[in-house]
């Protein structure tokens, strides 16, 4: 008996041993690829940071390594923060983004609640319509919108952006929220209805608190999209005083031949700061917002 089991046991051990070494190899490969890819993923922002700490003379000097700063300085940052134009970019971005996020959340929470919890004639078709709208990119619409916004006299006006940005944010946020509302057990609203609550009370007292993680995710999405929007401001805004960050940095800080690269990179990093900060603190919500659509839909 024992004689016959021994080889079998050996076989199992052998298998387990190879499995373990396979696992170890897999782990090494995993760490190696993660390290290599992290270096590649982080190289551009790091290089931007290094450049932003250099003086123009150091940027122009080609004798040393471009990946090293010999005399780090914050002068580029101070120059920008003391620049009225740059402060205006920031304020415009903030103004537009806050208005758009507020508008988006009101529109999409109301609509998602109606579409997700209260069926009515055409609600199915409308939900599909929202989904399809999300597939229409801004680059298809900017030329007709250029005409429309121009006709309203809102070209070159930051408020014109508040008008058009909802095309970027509302469909996706509504879509996320429909999913969240739909996933809440139906007993909740039945109980509320029996208690005599009306629909608005129900939304406000029950659904919004329960769906809060979804709302935060949607808000972060709306925020990052409006902060990073590029096509519409490029087409609609040409006066520096009305420009938001993205287009302001790209169009106004590029100074052809004057080696203002340090300042340009500092500007780009400062402009990227708000979404990065939100990301750093709310990474899980951020990722939930990103993945919500696909994993649930």
């Amino acid at each position: 008996m024992s004689a016959t089991t021994a080889p079998a046991q050996q076989g199992i051990y052998h298998k387990a041993g190879s499995l373990r070494s396979e696992r170890r190899w897999a782990l090494w490969t995993a760490y190696l690829s993660l390290i290599v890819s992290a270096i590649i993923m982080l190289a551009p922002p790091v290089y931007m940071l290094l450049t932003s700490l250099k003086t123009s003379a150091e940027v122009a000097d080609q004798s040393g390594s471009p990946w090293w700063v010999s005399n780090p300085t914050l002068e580029n940052y101070w120059a920008l923060l003391g620049n009225r134009m740059f402060i205006d970019f920031f304020l415009n971005s903030a103004k537009v983004t806050i208005a758009v996020v507020a508008l988006t959340m009101v529109i999409s929470v109301l609509a998602a609640f109606a579409l997700g919890r209260m069926r009515f004639w055409g609600s199915q078709a409308l939900a599909t319509g929202v989904f399809l709208t999300y597939l229409v990119p801004d680059t298809l619409l900017f030329i007709p919108l250029y005409q429309i916004v121009g006709g309203l006299g809102l070209l070159d006006n930051a408020w014109g952006l508040v008008l058009v940005y909802p095309t970027l944010t509302v469909p996706f946020c509504t879509w996320i929220m429909i999913g969240y509302f739909a996933s809440i057990p139906k007993e909740l609203d039945e109980a509320a209805l029996i208690d005599g609550a009306n629909w608005m009370q129900m939304l406000w007292k029950i659904f919004i608190p329960v769906a809060l993680p979804g709302i935060i995710a949607a808000t972060i999405f709306a925020f990052t999209v409006s902060w990073a929007a590029f096509v519409y401001p490029t087409a609609f805004i040409t006066t520096p005083s009305e420009m938001p960050m993205t287009i302001g940095v790209v169009s106004q800080l590029i100074r052809g031949d004057t080696f203002a690269w340090g300042q340009l990179m500092a500007g780009a990093l400062l402009a990227a700061l708000p979404p990065v900060v939100i990301y750093a603190f709310l990474m899980d919500y951020y990722i939930a917002g990103l993945t919500a659509g696909a994993t649930k839909g």
Binding site: R119, P137, P144, W175, F230, V250, I287, K296
Partner: protein
């Protein structure tokens, strides 16, 4: 997902009664009112402009007379535009394949390491996706700059000659793709990671007991479980990549010789910069059939899966 939401509804008002019926009538009115702002946004800012774009595309340069399909005809006859079609398709397909492959690989690697370290790595790898692309592209532009290129500096250390990143057409096309992949791969990674985590561990254990190699586990367990999410992510990304504008605008502005123009940047060049709005509208409308096909597949995929799950 939309359907999933609606699917829970029918049973809600099952208990009959006159008051409930009245309530239901009122409910649909309220619901309609609540969706009204959404309808206004979609109608006024998407449907109407899209229709208006079609109207614009049929006008002449000065927008004084109707020329039917003239703009489309002229565009299709222009070699530059045919090249733009080629480049848009080439760019989108190459970039999406690379993003999907790299994202898949990274998600897999991330899934392999111990759970307590994953958060840190995930945080680092997602950084490119967080920075607004117009701004990170500036950084890339500076890394590609011919005279001061820091990438070439590194290549030169390994005795590789400098690469004319943005000067030579194929290198310029590759550069645009590199930046797009750099920006988009983390998104795929995060999606696939979420999907990988939803694959039940028992399936792998069962496969291991059956003596499946890691390739077999990937082929017969992971991929089938992730099929839906892969297809949806790829289709979404195809749309976004097709419609990309900011990377081309900042990095090459379409040059050299218009060879890196995609639909969006060419529409901008023709429509807004050179002031031929109708022809610019026609250029961007060329994206529409592609989008429609993708939308069809996405919808079909979503519907089919909902049926499977039901």
């Amino acid at each position: 997902m939309a359907d999933g939401g609606a699917a829970t509804l029918p049973r809600m008002d099952a208990p009959g009664g006159a008051s409930l019926k009245r309530f239901a009538r009122r409910r649909s009115t309220i619901a309609f009112l609540m969706t009204l702002p959404l309808i206004a946004v979609i109608g006024g800012l998407v449907v109407w402009p899209a229709g208006y774009a079609i109207h614009l595309a049929t006008l002449n340069r000065r927008m004084t007379s109707f020329i039917g399909l003239g703009n489309f005809e002229i565009l299709l006859e222009s070699e530059t535009f045919r090249m733009v079609i080629f480049q848009s398709v080439f760019f989108a397909i190459t970039a999406v394949i690379l993003k999907a492959a790299i994202g898949f690989w990274l998600a897999h690697m991330l899934h392999h390491i111990p759970a307590n370290g994953q958060r840190k790595w995930r945080g680092m790898l997602l950084v490119p996706w967080v920075i607004p692309p117009a701004l990170s592209t500036l950084g890339w532009w500076w890394m590609f700059e011919p005279t001061y290129s820091s990438i070439n500096w590194i290549l030169n250390i390994f005795a590789i000659p400098s690469v004319p990143w943005l000067g030579e057409p194929w290198w310029a096309r590759i550069s645009v793709i590199i930046v797009n992949v750099w920006y988009g791969a983390p998104f795929f990674m995060i999606m696939y990671l979420a999907a990988l985590k939803s694959v039940p561990e028992q399936l792998y254990e069962a496969a291991a007991i059956d003596g499946a190699t890691s390739w077999q586990r990937l082929r017969y367990v992971t991929l089938p479980m992730m099929r839906n999410i892969i297809s949806i992510t790829v289709l979404f990304s195809l749309i976004v990549t097709f419609a990309n504008y900011d990377i081309v605008r900042v990095l090459t502005n379409g040059g050299p010789r218009d060879l890196t123009h995609v639909f969006a940047s060419y529409a901008f060049q023709v429509g807004i910069l050179a002031g031929n709005i109708p022809r610019g509208a026609a250029v961007s409308l060329f994206m529409f059939p592609i989008l429609a096909i993708i939308a069809f597949f996405v919808l079909r995929g979503v519907n089919r899966r909902n049926k499977e799950e039901a």
